[in-house]
């Protein structure tokens, strides 16, 4: 980290403050506004820095939710999902346009709907079924990034439609910049719109970014501070979400993008704010009870709120996220987990579990799900150093 910078990360349960010499972390007081809580606990440190030298990132709001409507799984939906994940957006539903009438409507308000499909020479793609679906859907923003021949007709029929260049070029390559910029700006606007975050502009003159965006930027720099051997995955298990950042040679269906790494977020696999959904996911996994036996606890642990229970929840979160990345459960991508040389852990998990407890879960996962003795090295970012790397220089 370069001299004279103060780095602050606002999480859903903790915040971390890093000076050039020290990183401190505090559990958030939910009875207070973030700004007041932060100033109460770290006021002296913050006041000793110039506002130009304070850099803040936040994942406190958990990100925007998106619904994607696309023409094909292998191109439009895949490309839009990739861009959305890397812009810090959470995907709650993807819809194959041909079957749009079979999908049920999500009851939650969708922050942004992405419509995509076709190359620029292809027309006559979308029509009435799309308009009917959108009419009943609750959403705040809608963006079109498909064939340019469709744009005019769609704009006529969909109110407030933002039209951006197609994300698929004529050679079926991904063009990510425009949609990525749009989604990132929307995310920024959302963060800034939150009263809590808005007030943080009192202490910085710099833009506040989303934490996953910052972490993704740090990945190529990670080996400067840690003994990490490519290919690796980074898992950030926190209070509300679990993020996984992975080296792209771990997937078969790669897309050329600016980044060497991709990101996935599991919005409902946190151990604090999304504890209930984590337990729900665990109860629906046929290996969970074997894992609980292995950890020498019973399912009564889900009812407890003790240090032991928190440990078990962290272990479950780690196991479930690895499972979701494996061929056992089909997710957005399946990673070649047997080719991994290192697993890096950051976030709350590093404060709750020790190295042996983490290694134990990883070896359980490899043995039970992949039938393998593969044993990647585990690197623990115990002092939240990773998110500070992006500010190097």
């Amino acid at each position: 980290m370069s001299q004279n910078k103060l780095l602050i990360d606002i999480g859903s349960t903790n915040f971390k403050v890093a000076t050039p010499t020290n990183i401190e972390q505090h559990f958030r007081d939910f009875n207070k506004d973030i700004h007041d809580d932060l100033m109460y606990k770290c006021g002296d440190t913050i006041n000793s820095f110039d506002k130009d030298d304070v850099y803040i990132c936040s994942s406190a709001n958990g990100g925007l939710s998106t619904l994607i409507i696309g023409l094909t799984e292998s191109y439009s939906l895949k490309y839009a999902k990739n861009i959305a994940f890397n812009s810090g957006i959470n995907i709650i539903e993807t819809i194959l346009y041909q079957n749009i009438e079979d999908y049920s409507l999500p009851s939650d308000l969708i922050d942004v709907v992405i419509v995509v499909g076709g190359i620029n020479s292809k027309g006559g793609i979308f029509g009435k079924p799309l308009y009917n679906y959108l009419e009943n859907l609750k959403y705040s923003n809608i963006v079109y990034v498909g064939s340019e021949l469709e744009a005019e007709e769609l704009a006529k029929n969909i109110e407030h439609l933002v039209v951006l260049p197609n994300i698929i070029d004529n050679k079926l390559h991904i063009i990510e910049e425009n949609l990525k910029e749009y989604l990132t700006n929307l995310y920024q606007a959302d963060i800034e719109g939150k009263e809590d975050i808005k007030s943080l502009y009192d202490i910085t003159t710099n833009q506040i970014y989303s934490t996953p965006y910052i972490v993704n930027k740090t990945l190529p720099l990670i080996d400067a501070n840690f003994s990490v051997v490519d290919p690796f995955i980074l898992i950030d298990i926190g209070g509300a979400t679990t993020d996984i950042h992975y080296s792209k040679d771990l997937v078969d269906e790669n897309i050329v993008t600016e980044n060497e790494y991709d990101r996935l977020v599991f919005k409902k696999l946190g151990v604090y704010k999304s504890k209930e959904s984590l337990i729900f996911a665990a109860q629906n996994n046929e290996f969970t009870y074997e894992l609980l036996t292995h950890l020498k606890v019973t399912e009564n642990i889900f009812e407890e709120s003790s240090e032991k229970a928190l440990k078990v929840l962290m272990q479950l979160a780690l196991f479930l996220v690895l499972t979701k990345m494996s061929h056992y459960k089909q997710a957005y991508v399946n990673l070649k987990l047997l080719a991994i040389n290192s697993i890096v852990l950051t976030g709350g998990i590093t404060k709750v579990l020790n190295d042996d407890e983490v290694a134990d879960i990883i070896s359980f996962f490899y043995k039970k799900i992949l039938n393998s003795d593969h044993n990647p090295t585990v690197v623990m970012d115990k002092n939240y150093k990773i998110w500070t790397l992006a500010n190097k220089g």
Partner: protein, 454 residues
């Protein structure tokens, strides 16, 4: 412990590697017989070295293949690796190896070196005491190369571009550069213990209408990337193009340029060898014709002055060649080389000048990329189409360049895409072709030209 050593330990702790002993391997390389080093044979050069292709899954069959080769007077033994290992899928390779051993049916298309392990393979390599060349096609070859060197294999084929663009659709190119950087470092480090470990680039690329300028540029760049990591023995290569004249011109230009660019990075002390591949395109189904084609390749290799020739077999069009066919082609190639004496020195100055200008222009564009490292400059150049490999399946390749054969079977560029072919050269290339035809006819010509030796 150095960062490289830490990385090596993690890579070698893979569950499919049986207790890798660094100290023992170092001791072995230090005392290894000089006959195992191809760099030794290049240095003592008495004739063009002959190397076939070949690899079988089981130890028994690979051993038998090598015996056949040695009896056929082979100079360099091959070890072709199976495609599961190439994709780092050692678990499947292990399963298939077991099935091959049990059923006598080959369930793999090559030798699963990582699963056999270096202790077993070394017994075979040291038994024959001939240099072995590792042929694979792996973007992440870190574990494979460690195992190969520990086995006594001191020639490693491949590179981040030549083993990716023709073979892979999705593997990230930037990763391939970094993984091959590791390979170069390991080869360079081991080279300090005894004779140099030779690195060889894979010149044929897609073997489909690749213009000489593109082949040469990629050969030069892989050579520079290797030399800058400390490798002291490197082989540039190319395959028969279908035009004898173009092959001879290419041989002159690649030698001249390799020396010049190696010196430009203060690596003039490295030995640069030239390797020629017999025809790599579609083979005639008529086996007699196939033999004529192979024989013609051998003549051209002599005219080019290659240091090594890599052979093909008369069975190429009908499936995986038998060990007998492989041995026969080695013996025939040796015979042809033995009777080829006093070949005329042919020079085509105009073609040489055009090709040199093209290569220099592309190299300059690569060097002018603003990135801070050579590999990143090369990566950017492929990404932005400054380097474009015709018919590459990889998603990063531009595929904007279009090539066709002229009346004399030379490969000519008729659409340059983003490749900075100088105007004068481009006009020259186009002037050799009949472009007055309609598009359908030109497309049909290209399809025909791909299978020219059929």
């Amino acid at each position: 412990m150095s960062l490289l050593q830490e990385e090596r330990e993690i890579i070698l702790s893979n569950e499919h590697v049986d207790n890798f002993d660094f100290a023992e391997v170092e001791e072995f390389v230090k005392n290894a017989n000089k006959e195992l080093f191809i760099s030794h044979h290049f240095a003592q050069k008495k004739k063009m070295l002959v190397q076939p292709r070949g690899g079988f899954p089981t130890y028994k069959k690979q051993f038998a293949l090598n015996e056949f080769f040695v009896n056929a007077n082979v100079d360099v033994l091959p070890l072709t690796i199976d495609s599961n290992t190439r994709l780092n899928d050692y678990a499947t390779a292990k399963k298939m190896l077991r099935l091959s051993e049990e059923s006598e049916v080959d369930m793999l298309n090559g030798y699963p070196l990582v699963n056999h392990g270096y202790r077993t393979t070394r017994k075979m390599v040291t038994h024959f005491n001939k240099p072995v060349s590792l042929r694979h096609g792996t973007p992440d070859a870190r574990l494979l190369i460690e195992t190969a060197i520990a086995s006594g294999i001191f020639e490693i084929e491949g590179g981040p571009i030549t083993y990716l663009l023709p073979y892979s659709k999705n593997f990230p190119l930037d990763k391939a550069f970094l993984y091959w950087k590791y390979v170069e470092k390991v080869c360079a480090n081991y080279s300090k213990l005894n004779l140099p470990i030779n690195r060889e680039s894979f010149g044929p690329l897609t073997a489909t209408l690749v213009p000489p300028a593109i082949t040469i540029v990629i050969q030069l760049l892989e050579m520079l990337l290797s030399l800058e990591e400390g490798v002291k023995s490197f082989s540039v290569s190319f395959s028969q193009t279908g035009s004898m004249n173009q092959d001879i011109v290419m041989g002159h230009v690649i030698r001249k340029m390799a020396k010049k660019y190696a010196e430009s990075i203060n690596c003039g002390d490295a030995t640069i060898n030239l390797v020629y591949h017999q025809w790599m395109g579609a083979f005639p189904t008529n086996k007699d014709f196939a033999e004529q084609l192979i024989n013609m390749s051998t003549v051209i290799a002599s005219m080019v002055g290659a240091d090594k020739i890599i052979t093909k077999t008369r069975e190429e069009a009908s499936g995986i060649p038998t060990k007998e066919a492989n041995a026969k082609t080695v013996a025939n190639t040796q015979y042809t080389l033995g009777i080829l004496n006093g070949l005329p020195n042919i020079v085509d100055e105009e073609e040489e000048e055009i090709l040199t200008l093209e290569v220099e222009a592309i190299m300059e564009a690569v060097f002018n990329d603003p990135a801070d490292t050579l590999w990143r400059k090369v990566f950017n150049s492929i990404k932005n189409g400054t380097i474009d490999v015709p018919f590459s399946p990889h998603i990063i390749n531009h595929n904007e360049m279009i090539t066709i054969r002229d009346a004399n079977k030379n490969i000519r560029i008729i659409k340059r895409g983003n490749v900075p072919i100088p105007d004068r050269c481009f006009e020259y290339e186009k002037s050799k072709c009949d472009l007055t035809k309609d598009t359908t006819s030109i497309v049909n010509d290209i399809i025909h030209d791909i299978g020219i030796m059929q």
